[in-house]
Subunit: 465 residues, 2 copies
C-alpha cells in the first residue's frame, strides 16, 4: 500500500566540526571584490565597517578547513545533523528506475537552511563586541533565521524588509518580531538611501537591492552595528557546507555516489552549501579517473542569472554602497517578476557559484513557476513534506531527470537539496490550486537593457565587463 | 554566551513497535459509550458505520499492547523517533534549579503530533476497503494531518472545516488542499445537519460540534466512507502513546525520572499520548513504594473542561449524532471564546483522561491566554522553536513549576509535551505583540447553563448525570 521510508540518520558526533573551504582546491583564482566607490580591489580594512574580523578572514581565507566554534556547534545541535531520505514514494509515483534522495534542512526552528550561517555570524559578531546587527530580507526566510540567532546570543537585530513583503507576508514579519527583532518596511525614512527612494517614489514597493542599501548604510553609520548577509558571499557558503558534508556521509551510508546533486540557486548559499563539498571531492580526485556528480543549480525562468545573465563585475545593491562582485548578473537594475520563490529573486549570484559555472565545473537550469508548483504538490503527496517554493525548483529538475532516466533506461542516483518547508508559503500554493498562478519568462530586451548599465571595470587583477 | 544544547536522539530501532493500552492497567472500569438515539451502551455493530473493525477493536480492547503494523511504522519513520531536548537556555533564563525537558512533535511534516494517529487510521481504513474518509477540523491541525495520511494510502479525504477558520485561516485550508483533500466550510448545504443550521442562521460561523455532526452524517450516509476523529477516543490516545514511550526511553538516556509530565489538553490526545505510558508505569509499580511523576493536563481558562466542567455523559457533537461519552464536559451547547489555541476549544474531553482525572491519577490546571503567549515568546527566544499556542499552555505551566522550584529550593525534572510548531499561528503572535490579545475566563453562569442541558442517562452500567 505504501512504499517504505528509508531515512539516513547521523549521530551528533557526525555533525561536521569544520567548514569546508573550496577556494584552495579551485583550479583558478577568484576575482577580488571591489570597493563600490573606487572600483578597486577591497582590502580587509574596507570591509571592517561591515563585518567582524573573523568573518572577513573567512571571506578571504585559503585554509582548506575552518574550525566550527564550540558555541556554534552547540546551537547547530538543536537541528543538526539534518536527515537525508530516500524518496521511495516519489520514485514509485514516477515509475522511475532512478534513486532519488533528499537532504532536508526544514527541521531547523526557522524552517530552512538559513540558520546554519545566521548562528555563525551572530556568534562572531558577539565575540567581537558588536551590539546590533542590520540586515535585509525579502520574503523573510533570512530575516527570521538571523532574528533567531541574535536572540540566542543576546544581539539586537534590525531587519529591513522589502515593503511589499512586509505588507503581504505578515507571518514572517511576526516570526522575526517574536524572536525580538526590529522590522522596518523598506524603503524607509531611517536611511539616506531609503529617503532618496521615497522622495522619488513615495509608494515604492521596495526591492532586495534597496533593502541591502539600507542595511549596509545602517551598519556603516552606527559604530555598534555590523551588517549581516544571508547568501552570496564566500563566508556564507562556507558556513552552509555542513549540509553537503553531512550529505556525503549519508550517501555513503546509503551505499551511493550521487550522479546528480541538485539545488535551487538564488544567491547561492543553499546550492553552494550542498554542492561545494561534492565538487571539492571531484577536484581533489581529479586525474584518478573517478567521475564526480553533475552539480546542477536551478533558478527561476523569471530571474535567470546563471542561464541568461553575463559574467561581469556588478554592484550588489541599488544604491551602490555594497561591495562590487565578479558574478553572473542580470544587472543591478534588474527587477524580476513577483514570483512566489522570493528567495530566488536576486539579480546576481554568489561569486563562488558564478566562477564554478563560468569554468564549467557546475551546470545550471532555469525552470518556470507552474511546473515547479506541480512538482511541489506531487512531492508533498508522495513524501509528506510540503516544500518551500524555492526548494521545489530543485525537485522539479530532479523529477525531470528521473523521468528522463525512465525513458533512457538509466538508473542514476539523484540528490536533492530540500532547503526548507513551505508552511509560510501556503498563499502561493493556494494561488496555484486556484489556477491564478502564472508562468513567467523574463523578456530578453529587458535583460539586455539591465545588463547595459553594468559598470566598466579596469583593474590589474580583473577583466573589463 | 549560550548554554549548551542537550538533545536525546533515539535510533530507528527505538521507535515503539506496539502502542500502549492503559485500560487493562486501570484500577477502575471505563464507562461504555452510549448510542445517541437510545442512550444505551453501543456495541461494535453500532460503530461499524463510522469506523473500520480494527479501530473498533482497539477502541474496546483490553490487550495491554497492540502491535503497530509495519506499514504504519514505515510512515512513522518519516519523522519518528522525535527528538527530546533539555531546555538549558530556558532554565538559564528562568534562573531555576529545575531541569526542563521537552519532547518535540513539530518535526512531523504536518508540524504536530496529529499524524501519529492519522496514519494509523488511514491505514486500517484502506486495509478494510474504505474509499473515502470524512472528518472535521477547527483550525486545521487535524485536517491537514489526515489529508496527508490519506494521500499516502490513496484515500479520498473530505474535511468539514469550521467556517470562521475556513475564512480566517486560509493557510491550513491550503495545506489540506495541497495534500489533495476536499475542504468544505461548515455548516454546509451538503448535510442535513448543516442545512438545518443554515436555515436557522444563514451566517453561522460554525463550531467544532457542528462540523463533527456533518462529518459523522457524511460517513453514516455513504457506504464507501468512514469517519475519522483526531482526538477524544481511546484508539486515538492509543496511537499517540508512541510519544510517551519514546520519551520514557529518552528520559532514561538523560538519567532522569520526571517529577512532572505536562501536556496541553483539548480533546486529550496530546496529553494522553505523552502521559499514559508514565501513568501506566506508576500503576504497574504500585505498592513498590516508587512514586511516579505528577501528570498535569493544562487547558485554557476559556474552555476549562477538567477544572470547571462536570463528569457526566454528554453528546460529542451539536446535532447529537455522534456517540455519547462519559467525560468531563462543559455541555455540548458550550461555545468557548475565540482564543487562538483552536485545538483546545472542545466542550468535552477524552473519556480516558476524564476517568484518570476523576480518580485522582492525573491533575489539571487552567491558564489564561496572555500568560500563555508570554511563555511562548520566552520559549522561542530561548530555545529557537516557536511553539503552537496549544503547546504553549504546557510551557506556561512548566515555567510556573520551574519558578516555584526556584523559590522553594526544589530541583524537579519537568517534562513538557511540545506538540507542534507555531508557524501557522503567526497571526496570533502578531496580535499578542500588538497588545490586542485578551485574557478570557469563561463566566460561570454560562457554564452552568450549558451543563444544565446535559442528557439524563440511566443505564445499568452507568450513573445518572
Amino acid at each position: 500500500m505504501s512504499d517504505s521510508t528509508v531515512k539516513f540518520i547521523l549521530s551528533e558526533k557526525d555533525i561536521p566540526t569544520t567548514w569546508y573551504n573550496i577556494i584552495p582546491d579551485l583550479p583558478f583564482q577568484m576575482m577580488p571584490p571591489l570597493h563600490p566607490g573606487t572600483l578597486q580591489p577591497m582590502n580587509p580594512g574596507d570591509l571592517s565597517r561591515l563585518f567582524p574580523m573573523a568573518v572577513i578572514e573567512q571571506e578571504m581565507s585559503s585554509k582548506p578547513e575552518i574550525d566550527i566554534p564550540g558555541e556554534v556547534l552547540d546551537v547547530y545541535r538543536l537541528w543538526r545533523p539534518s536527515p537525508l531520505f530516500r524518496a521511495r514514494r516519489l520514485e514509485a509515483a514516477l515509475r522511475t528506475p532512478a534513486r532519488i534522495y533528499y537532504k532536508y534542512e526544514g527541521v531547523s526552528p526557522a524552517g530552512s537552511h538559513k540558520p546554519n550561517t545566521a548562528v555563525a555570524q551572530a556568534y562572531y559578531n558577539k565575540r567581537e563586541g558588536t551590539r546590533r546587527l542590520a540586515t535585509e530580507t525579502g520574503a523573510g526566510q533570512w530575516g527570521s533565521a538571523l532574528a533567531m540567532a541574535c536572540s540566542f546570543f543576546g544581539l539586537e537585530c534590525s531587519v529591513y524588509m522589502v515593503k511589499v513583503s512586509y505588507d503581504q507576508k505578515p507571518y514572517r514579519r511576526a516570526l522575526m518580531q517574536a524572536y525580538g527583532a526590529d522590522v522596518t518596511p523598506s524603503p524607509s525614512p531611517k536611511t539616506a538611501a531609503g529617503r532618496s527612494i521615497l522622495a522619488a517614489s513615495p509608494d515604492s514597493p521596495g526591492s532586495l537591492g534597496i533593502a541591502i542599501s539600507e542595511a549596509v548604510e545602517d551598519a556603516a553609520t552606527h559604530d555598534d552595528t555590523k551588517y549581516s548577509l544571508g547568501s552570496v558571499l564566500n563566508h556564507v557558503l562556507l558556513h552552509q557546507t555542513v549540509i553537503g558534508q553531512e550529505a556525503q556521509l549519508q550517501m555513503e551510508m546509503a551505499g551511493e555516489k550521487p550522479d546528480y546533486v541538485v539545488g535551487c540557486c538564488g544567491g547561492g548559499s543553499n546550492f553552494g552549501g550542498l554542492a561545494l563539498p561534492f565538487v571539492g571531492e571531484t577536484l581533489k580526485t581529479k586525474g584518478s579517473g573517478r567521475r564526480g556528480p553533475r552539480a546542477i543549480a536551478v533558478e527561476p525562468s523569471a530571474c535567470p542569472t546563471l542561464t541568461r545573465g553575463v559574467y561581469a563585475y556588478d554592484y550588489g545593491d541599488t544604491a551602490k554602497v555594497a561591495p562590487v562582485a565578479m558574478m553572473y548578473t542580470l544587472g543591478h537594475g534588474f527587477v524580476p517578476a513577483g514570483i512566489h520563490a522570493g528567495g530566488l529573486r536576486y539579480h546576481g549570484d554568489s561569486p563562488l557559484v558564478s566562477a564554478l559555472f563560468h569554468h564549467g565545473l557546475i551546470e545550471a537550469r532555469a525552470v518556470k513557476q507552474l511546473p515547479v508548483f506541480e512538482a511541489a504538490v506531487l512531492f508533498a503527496r508522495s513524501e509528506g513534506i510540503l516544500p518551500a517554493p524555492e526548494s521545489a525548483h530543485a525537485i522539479r529538475t530532479a523529477i525531470d531527470l528521473a523521468v528522463e532516466a525512465r525513458e533512457t533506461g538509466a538508473d542514476p542516483a539523484i540528490l536533492i537539496g530540500l532547503s526548507g518547508h513551505g508552511h509560510f508559503d501556503l498563499a502561493a500554493y493556494d494561488a496555484y490550486a486556484a489556477g491564478i498562478l502564472e508562468d513567467y519568462e523574463h523578456p530578453q530586451d529587458e535583460i539586455d537593457r539591465a545588463i547595459a548599465e553594468l559598470p566598466v571595470v579596469n583593474i590589474t587583477a580583473g577583466e573589463a565587463s
